[in-house]
Point group: C2
Chain length 334, copies 2
């Protein structure tokens, strides 16, 4: 016999019935199977290297113990961290995590191109953990329990979000205390809650500052594009004394724009980022930014989702967005 051993093989080897094997290995044998036979069964399973067939189990139980993590761009350190946190919590509860890269070419287009109702692994799922893409995701997985990540907590679906407004306020306060008044905002051109939130908080904070002014340029999240956008702000006659960027990657672009114009950071210009990516400490000078604990986002999101799957309704949780002051911010020159 070269095929994978089944519970029936174990039963035969142990001299019992298949049901007994299932009971013992399932852990629900107390008072139904004698400790002695239980041991025999476990020993036989061990010896044969038995591993339960997942497909059969799933079919029988009607559950997969798998959740889908929907991410816009898997090749980012941020979502790598989210994944890690989520997978950690999931594993602790016997759940697995499957990644679904949302808008990339791997998307649903290919799947339906298979002809007929084609089921990809992403359909064998108990729940969905989705980041920042509310509308579309909910459309495709409408009848599946879902938790949103870093989305509007006021929405219909349970959400775990960063307190990005807090973070932005803390950042603005730090800059205000340094003496900055003319702010430039290098904003992400993405229609997502978190960016609207950041923009709103910054605008409010600057408006509350005596003599505060705010100019804005938008770009996609990319070094080159951000450099260009930052350049537009720096070329204004009333050049800002600080560039607040929506992302660390964009801050790297701002660095380049500044240096191309002979501006020293932080002496001539302060720059800030958002996320606290590896990049933040790789840049020179090291970047003042707002730390978003991505791994924790994944972990808390998964916790909430598991609660949801368990029938309990998870309380909405908010994660801190903490200011990290490094070397890219200083008082403006007079």
């Amino acid at each position: 016999m070269t095929r994978r051993p089944t519970s029936r093989d174990v039963a035969q080897a142990a001299g019992v019935s298949q049901s007994t094997v299932s009971l013992v290995l399932g852990g629900k044998w107390h008072g139904r199977v004698s400790p002695a036979t239980a041991r025999t069964v476990r020993r036989a399973a061990e010896r044969l290297g038995y591993r339960p067939n997942l497909a059969a189990r799933n079919l029988r139980l009607g559950t997969t113990r798998t959740v889908l993590l929907v991410v816009p761009t898997p090749s980012s350190t941020f979502f790598g961290a989210v994944y890690t946190g989520a997978a950690e919590v999931a594993a602790r509860h016997g759940f697995g995590v499957v990644v679904y890269p949302w808008p990339d070419d791997t998307g649903s287009g290919d799947a339906s191109a298979q002809g007929g109702p084609f089921a990809s692994p992403r359909e064998a799922i108990d729940g969905v953990l989705a980041s920042s893409l509310a509308v579309e995701v909910l459309k495709e997985f409408s009848h599946t329990p879902a938790v949103m990540l870093d989305n509007d907590p006021a929405g219909a679906t349970p959400t775990v979000a960063f307190a990005v407004a807090d973070g932005m306020r803390a950042l603005a306060a730090h800059l205000g205390a340094l003496g900055h008044r003319r702010f430039g905002h290098v904003a992400a051109a993405a229609d997502q809650w978190t960016f609207h939130e950041r923009g709103g908080a910054l605008a409010a904070a600057v408006a509350a500052l005596p003599g505060g002014e705010l100019v804005r340029a938008t770009s996609v999240i990319d070094v080159g594009a951000a450099k260009e956008a930052a350049g537009r702000l720096l070329d204004r006659p009333d050049r800002p004394t600080v560039l607040v960027c929506d992302d660390d990657l964009m801050a790297a672009g701002a660095y380049k724009a500044a240096r191309a114009r002979g501006l020293d950071i932080p002496r001539d210009l302060s720059v800030t980022g958002f996320d606290d990516d590896v990049l933040a400490t790789a840049l020179e000078p090291e970047l003042t930014t707002v730390r978003l604990p991505a791994r924790r986002l994944g972990a808390e999101g998964m916790t909430a989702l598991l609660q949801l799957l368990d029938g309990r309704s998870p309380e909405p949780r908010s994660l801190p967005a903490e200011l990290v002051v490094r070397a890219s911010t200083a008082s403006p020159r007079h």
Copy 2:
């Protein structure tokens, strides 16, 4: 009826038997079902929103159409790209991809802690795509078709690897042509084929250079640690004129070590990386490095694995590692 519709429901709605539904939707009905009934069935399936139950299908077919991607650290842009390439090819063949973060806390420790033979989704798998961790991975998935990524092509399992030696040679030639003779190697302290390969190629190339000298410092792949290692090389009396780093991230550390000592890049010191991460263009000056097409690695690896699953034996493929010259290298001052 509120539950998920089954093929039997579709059959009833279309006024045919379950087998007919299965035949039609499976696409194997030519000569067995009339085009008219086929249309009826498809229409009914559409109307009910029928999606096949994956667990049942897997059980019946004894296959999961899923492959496992084993990665050491999912929170890196490199493996994100590998994943994307792999998932793309997989989807085109109706396969899904599940990620298994290898040595992290999510590992097998937790799984066995569940008590009894606990099956995680990572076991319902047709094949394994594993990167750089040969020995251990093969231990756990010994009876599963596997393809290695970026590992020794001479090994027993089929492999798709970068021609890192070529890349390193091209890099050394570039530096030699600029006039460099005293090389510093900031090497990754990881016991992986790719790093041995890089080190060997560099040593050979430098040795072949008239008057070539090579000093080496190792560190883990991390900005801070690399900065420290690079510093050790820069503090030598016979300071190297160029630091060749095993990774872009380590090059960032080298930048910091150089700047801490008042050395200008590339005037006083040339620095090179490896990988061509986003980081490479985010740094200033932009980093001369060797590009490893990570996405292609995933794609080719998946292609090979699918061939393997198909019974064919894949020819070992090697991917180019191409030199990318940017602004961090120049001729040494005399």
